[in-house]
């Protein structure tokens, strides 16, 4: 097994006994700051200003995203929307935030339509592994939880949003359990809480290493038994407005028939998730097929500012061998219960439970300074030494607590209980996004946003377990806010989108792309619109 790395594997096996007793390498605050400054991909200078829109000339975006913000729309020129479907609330996005909002609106008497680009549940939510945070431990409080996340986010967090996230945590966990979510528990019936990178006391709840799957399948099951109209395979191609700056619906594209569907809605909620499939700087991603930043583009065209869009999360432990698993997540929990990160010489080089941006930067430094391990496919990574977990906690621990990890690697003949894994940072989460207020309202009337598509709550670095809670808290808040603040129905026009399109035409260099992108270019999936001519 992994013969090509035999020398390095032997070194690791040799250092294992002495490492078991050693404390992690100690870096002071200044050293950590320098590490992030010098090695984090956000600091690589791969951004530029956008030339149009609400952040024009003021905020920097990764090139890949700036290109999409300056790209032409998908709709054929001269397309005139006429109402194909009228609903009260249109939710765009079939992941955790959209499903939570739909469930929150169940008892409202409003007609709710949820459009999913893929199928309901095919999302980043379902792929989340390690857990969901709530301040439930004996030494914990909502304030301590806030302080950990605020320090982790470099103080860039919207303090009001973060306070809401922290304070509503326990209530949202109770809501999920009432729906039937099963989280791992101790013998006395209390939740088993784990630490994560940057938590000062244990507070991550989990369902093995399938926490997102557990939450998403329960939300989906509940949603399918309710009144929500679910439109699978329907992407939002453009938002509609009333001609006076209020969002009044969306033009959906049915990927099965190629047809456009113009939806009139009194409220539109963007819950379109993240953008890992943009593969910023060529990084692999842990994200699902549809994570192409669609919501950012749609909202930006309507005049919504985007915040912290120069900040992305590169999860420290993305798999980098075997090649078929490149970029896929190896949960942080595995580090929190004792797996060490090691360079080619078998040396530990960072405290594995620093904040994610620091750990990712440390891994990148090892590789840049030629202490990484090269895979047969030409990728570089460092070791995540998993065998000590079973040695320390008893044989079978990994298999019981991390069935997903075992299942994925076993297929390739790798038993993480016997061999270390090779990891390298993978593009994991969009820290920034659409600016929202404490009611999940965007800056444009009629348009709400929740979940990964929004920015502010996580600052410029998110903690593990804060995104699953984000969708549960803010998905619900968006639903509640829509109930209380539902505008009257307006006419549907493309006024704002056309104005944006005209502004684009003045640019000297326009990207030869159309947006929203909907699918990653690598997939070869194309957006082909069947235009009915009348």
């Amino acid at each position: 097994m992994m013969e090509w790395a035999r020398d390095s594997l032997e070194k690791i096996a040799r250092t294992r006994p002495q490492r078991a007793e050693q404390p992690p390498p100690n870096l002071d605050e200044r050293a950590v700051d320098l590490l992030v400054r010098d090695y984090h991909p956000d600091r690589a200078g791969m951004e530029r200003l956008a030339a149009v829109g609400p952040n024009a000339g003021t905020q920097r975006f990764p090139h890949e995203l700036a290109d999409l913000l300056e790209a032409d729309g998908l709709l054929p020129e001269g397309f005139h929307p006429s109402v194909d479907l009228a609903t009260d609330v249109l939710i765009v996005g079939g992941g955790g935030a959209g499903a939570t909002a739909a469930l929150t609106l169940e008892d409202s008497g409003l007609q709710v339509t949820l459009a999913a680009k893929l199928r309901l549940g095919d999302s980043n939510t379902v792929m989340a592994e390690g857990g969901i945070q709530a301040a439930l431990g004996p030494d914990d409080s909502t304030r301590r939880r806030f302080a950990d996340s605020y320090a982790g986010g470099h103080g860039k967090n919207d303090a009001e949003l973060l306070r809401i996230l922290c304070e509503r945590g326990p209530d949202r966990i109770r809501w999920l359990t009432r729906l039937g979510c099963l989280f791992d528990r101790n013998a006395d019936g209390t939740f088993r809480l784990r630490s994560c990178g940057g938590s000062s006391t244990p507070r991550v709840l989990a369902c093995r290493d399938y926490t997102g799957l557990e939450i998403m399948r329960v939300l989906r099951d509940a949603l399918l038994q309710g009144q929500t109209q679910v439109l699978n395979h329907h992407s939002a191609a453009e938002l509609l407005d009333d001609g006076h700056g209020q969002v009044t619906g969306a033009v959906l594209w049915d990927s099965r028939s190629g047809k456009l569907v113009s939806v009139s809605a009194r409220a539109v909620l963007l819950a379109t998730g993240g953008s890992g499939q943009l593969h910023l700087q060529g990084y692999p991603t842990s994200n699902h097929l549809g994570a192409t930043g669609d919501g950012l583009v749609l909202a930006y065209r309507q005049g919504c500012r985007l915040v912290h869009m120069d900040s992305f999360q590169y999860h420290p432990s993305g798999a980098c061998f075997p090649e078929a698993l490149a970029g896929q997540l190896v949960t942080e929990s595995i580090r929190s219960i004792g797996a060490h990160l090691l360079n080619a010489d078998g040396e530990r080089f960072v405290d594995e439970l620093l904040y994610r941006d620091a750990v990712a930067s440390a891994i990148i430094r090892e590789v840049v300074e030629r202490r990484g391990i090269r895979t047969p496919a030409g990728r570089y990574g460092v070791w995540l030494d998993t065998p000590p977990i079973d040695l320390k906690k008893g044989e079978g621990t990994l298999r019981r607590q991390f069935p997903g990890l075992i299942h994925r690697f076993e297929r390739y003949g790798i038993d993480p209980a016997r061999y270390p894994l090779l990891v390298y940072p993978t593009l994991h989460y969009q820290n920034g996004g659409i600016a929202i207020d404490s009611q999940c309202r965007t800056e444009v009337r009629g348009l709400w946003a929740a979940g990964e598509v929004t920015g502010g709550v996580h600052g410029t670095n998110r903690l593990m377990g804060n995104s699953l809670l984000d969708i549960a808290v803010f998905g619900a808040l968006a639903g509640e806010s829509i109930k209380q603040d539902l505008p009257p129905r307006g006419r549907i026009t493309l006024s704002t989108a056309i104005r944006y399109r005209e502004a684009l035409k003045t640019l000297p260099n326009r990207p030869a792309k159309a947006a929203p992108q909907l699918f990653p270019p690598a997939s070869g999936l194309k957006v082909e619109i069947a235009v009915s001519r009348t």
Partner: protein, 223 residues
């Protein structure tokens, strides 16, 4: 190291692929992504169900295209499974309650097709038998890793719906569970320190707040 080229056939299309890559990635490279419905590309959403067969007589079977590496001579047949409406879970679940909503529970002829079809290696048939006996805790444990791809249901000749019953059992048990410690925390009006601690954390400009957060998190109290 070079990755040798292998030849596979997907829905009748001959594709040259790189050994070691998954069926999904081979389809993307060949411009044939539409042939297999895809979702997470990470083995947890259950969209990309396929059936594979080998010309040399080796055992094939169902799998997820995003997880299955290509092999020379592999034939791939798309096997999309549409969902069926689920039944509402029940408090204090019993076999009678399960049978009332899934009347095909007892039809299982113990052929084992469901277990063979499961890409997550769940002992599906054994778990159906456990449900028949009311061993719900064990059945819930079995279905911990269920991705609801629907293959177990699609291959069942007796119309048993194992994965639907699996989530019914899990949700029913979950809903029936008491969480006294959590409930206690939700009704208690805080610990008296909340107001002063929030005031401390939310005072000052960005730099000052960051300094305060870093200091506060060490002990989690102001004292």
């Amino acid at each position: 190291m070079e990755f040798p080229s292998v030849q596979i056939v997907v829905a009748g299309n001959i594709i040259q692929a790189r050994a070691g890559e998954t069926i999904v990635h081979a389809l993307w490279a060949a411009g044939l992504a539409r042939h297999v419905q895809t979702g997470c590309v990470g083995g947890v959403c259950g969209a990309c169900t396929v059936s594979v067969r080998f010309k040399d007589g080796r055992k094939g079977g169902t799998d997820l295209a995003c997880m299955r590496p290509v092999e020379d001579g592999m034939e791939v047949f798309p096997f999309a499974v549409d969902p069926v409406p689920p039944a509402p879970p029940a408090n204090e679940p019993t076999v009678e309650k399960l049978r009332a909503v899934y009347p095909t529970l007892d039809r299982c002829a113990k052929c084992g097709s469901c277990t063979a079809a499961c890409p997550m290696s769940i002992p599906v048939m054994d778990s159906v038998l456990r449900m028949q006996r009311g061993e719900f805790e064990a059945a819930a444990e079995d279905f911990t890793t269920c991705i609801h791809c629907g293959l177990c249901r699609a291959v069942c000749e007796d119309k048993v719906k194992p994965h639907n019953m699996g989530i019914w059992v899990r949700r029913s048990l979950g809903m029936s569970q008491d969480y006294p410690a959590l409930d206690q925390r939700l009704v208690s009006a805080g610990d008296g320190r909340a107001e002063s601690e929030w005031a401390y954390l939310l005072t000052g400009d960005e730099a000052e707040r960051l300094r305060r957060a870093k200091s506060f998190r060490e002990k989690g109290t102001l004292s």
